[in-house]
């Protein structure tokens, strides 16, 4: 494995872990959402790196890189929907904190 690929894979694993931990410890929906984006981008990085690893000599095989574009498009759609939902919640109350969104539990 060439060092660039293995380093990218380690970086993507670190990014994914930061994302998962961040989702669990953050209280603000926008921060949680940014951590989810971090998870998706970790997946993108590892898709591209694995593509390079599998097809190092073949420049025509770009599956993994195309997959990464698909994931970017999906992430963009998710941003559009997610930010709209968070803003509509924000319009009703000045502070948004997932711990305070608990009407249904009570």
């Amino acid at each position: 494995m060439i060092p660039l690929v293995s380093n990218s894979l380690i970086l993507s694993a670190v990014l994914f872990t930061i994302g998962v931990v961040g989702v669990m410890i953050h209280r603000h929906p926008v921060m949680i959402f940014m951590c989810v984006e971090l998870m998706l981008n970790a997946a993108n990085l590892s898709l591209v790196a694995f593509n390079k690893q599998h097809y190092a000599e073949n420049w025509h095989a770009v599956d993994g890189q195309v997959y990464a574009f698909m994931v970017i498009a999906i992430a963009a759609a998710e941003v559009a929907v997610g930010l709209a939902i968070i803003v509509s919640l924000f319009k009703r109350r000045a502070r948004v904190d997932v711990d305070e969104v608990n009407q249904l539990r009570n």
Partner: protein, 528 residues
């Protein structure tokens, strides 16, 4: 390198139902633009004031129903062609192949989408659910004075995601279809923006759904790293040709499993279900409880049957069995003492996920057919039950509590009897459709040697009768609780009445003549 056909142009007709529904969405968007541009009184955003009866929704409903009916007609046409052709699949789209060996034979060859009769039956269920939910949406919106024209576009888009999930045999395709299924639903949950419960349910569903898709795609990237492809057949070939399973592949498959388990609502990934089901507008809850379950279980059984078969069962079956057992226990325990009907049905949905996961543990083509039958019976019952909740609930409340159900049987005898039959079918009472589904699922798991799991599931389904019988007690025997006003639902709108009659008749018909449902399900063969 992997040799591939980019697309089989001569087979694109097999995607007919998906194309028809996509066109329906486009027509709906155009019709909405035209309606807003040419109607003089109505400006976008203030439909409520000039349209007291909500008639502006009628064109959208009619277009949706026409689109869904055309898609169903196309599904029957495709099923006819499939039967005439004699094979198990009508077409495979986006075919990829592994390396050819010395004799020129490919190690594996499979399409990213398989149009087989299993997928077409899932598509059929999806279109029927779309019709039922759009029908009950109209009176619901009229009684709440919530005129959101865009919701039909979102419903149809979500249904397209369901159809693609039923056909999908490739992890990337599955990921995209799950997102197409979920993104419109996040918005639909927040449909009634006047109610804070609805906004809360939307936020929770969105955050947890996005979290789950992060797991799913990172897991898929690890699978890609190990296998070099995301096609299920490629994964199966890799598993069968490499006896030592690589840790990267195992980690990837388990992350994919976590992502799918979130969407299936298997315990311990179920925390969002009660809040989201209770807070969402009731017809949307009906859509989630039926449609999402059908589509996600179709995707899960394809993953199990197509790719995990090569993997030693100890790696996945035990874990899945633990999740199934936990789902049954937690779902049952929490359902016992709920005061809200919608929350109780949400916990009962978690229990049903547990029973269905028993069939996933069994795996194999027979389990796929039993899953279809179980899901059909469960969809009929849950759409009917949530529709009755939508009918009975007070406009400002969007939920029914057990205390409010007293002497419902005297004031609304037909609605009470229908609700009683539907919840008993969910419980699996003999002579109802739910019993047939449970029987077949447990039979398959028993045949697969999962005796302990089946005994446990049967015991749980006996326990679950306790809370299903609470409906009967509340409606027929409960004395009046001081301080609760009786429900005033008025006369039943025609759309509700049609859905109620159809769901009750089908529940009893399939219960008394199970061969109808069983023959249907058994012809839903999955391409291997």
């Amino acid at each position: 390198m992997i040799d591939r056909d980019v697309i089989g142009y001569d087979q694109i007709y097999a995607l007919g139902p998906v194309i028809i529904l996509t066109l329906t969405v486009l027509v709906l968007i155009l019709a909405d633009c035209i309606w807003r541009a040419f109607s003089r009184h109505v400006k976008p955003g203030d439909v409520e004031h000039d349209d007291p009866a909500g008639m502006g929704l009628m064109p959208n409903l009619v277009i949706t129903l026409i689109g869904a009916t055309a898609a169903i007609a196309d599904i029957f046409y495709l099923l006819g062609r499939l039967r005439a052709g004699g094979g198990t699949a009508l077409a495979e789209l986006f075919i990829a192949r592994g390396f050819p060996d010395a004799t020129g034979r490919h190690a594996w060859e499979a399409g990213a989408l398989a149009i087989d009769s299993f997928g077409l039956y899932v598509a059929l269920l999806g279109c029927l659910i779309l019709i039922a939910v759009s029908l009950i949406m109209l009176p619901y919106l009229q009684s709440r004075r919530l005129f959101r024209a865009e919701l039909f576009q979102l419903l149809v888009l979500s249904t397209i995601g369901m159809l693609l999930l039923g056909f999908s045999r490739d992890l990337l395709n599955t990921f995209i279809a799950i997102e197409l299924l979920s993104l419109p639903l996040y918005v639909l949950c927040g449909l009634s923006d006047k109610s804070s419960a609805s906004r809360e349910s939307s936020l929770k569903y969105f955050l947890l759904g996005a979290f789950a898709s992060g797991f799913l795609i990172y897991g898929a990237s690890l699978v890609y790293g190990a296998v070099g492809h995301l096609n299920y057949k490629a994964i199966a070939f890799y598993l069968s040709s490499n006896p030592d399973v690589s840790n990267v592949l195992l980690a990837g498959l388990s992350l994919v499993g976590v992502g799918i388990a979130f969407k299936l609502a298997l315990v311990p990934f179920h925390a969002w279900v009660p809040d989201v089901y209770q807070g969402a507008p009731t017809p949307v809850t009906a859509f989630m409880a039926s449609g999402v379950k059908v589509a996600m279980f179709a995707a899960a059984i394809r993953l199990v049957n197509d790719s995990l078969v090569g993997l030693d069962a100890q790696y996945w079956r035990d874990a899945l069995a633990v999740f199934a057992i936990l789902s049954m226990i937690i779902g049952n325990l929490f359902a016992l003492h709920q005061s809200s009907v919608k929350r109780l049905l949400a916990y009962s949905a978690i229990t049903h996920t547990g029973y269905l996961a028993v069939a996933l543990c069994a795996g194999g083509p027979a389990a796929a057919q039993s899953l279809l039958i179980y899901l059909a019976a469960y969809c009929i019952a849950s759409i009917g039950a949530f529709m009755l909740v939508a009918y009975l609930s007070r406009p400002g409340q969007d939920d029914v509590y057990f205390d409010e159900l007293h002497d419902l049987s005297q004031r609304y005898p037909a609605a009470s009897a229908a609700l009683a039959i539907l919840v008993l079918s969910m419980g699996g009472l003999p002579m109802t459709a739910g019993f047939i589904g449970k029987l077949l699922v447990f039979r398959d798991a028993w045949a697969a040697g999962l005796h302990g799991l089946v005994i446990f599931a049967v015991l749980n389904s006996v326990v679950s009768f306790y809370f299903y019988l609470r409906f009967l007690r509340a409606m027929y025997m409960q004395p009046r609780v001081p301080g609760t006003a009786p429900l005033e639902a008025g006369s039943m709108p025609a759309a509700y009445a049609i859905t109620a009659v159809v769901s009750v008749v089908l529940t009893i018909l399939f219960g008394v003549l199970p061969q109808l449902l069983v023959e249907w399900g058994n012809s839903g063969v999955m391409l291997q």
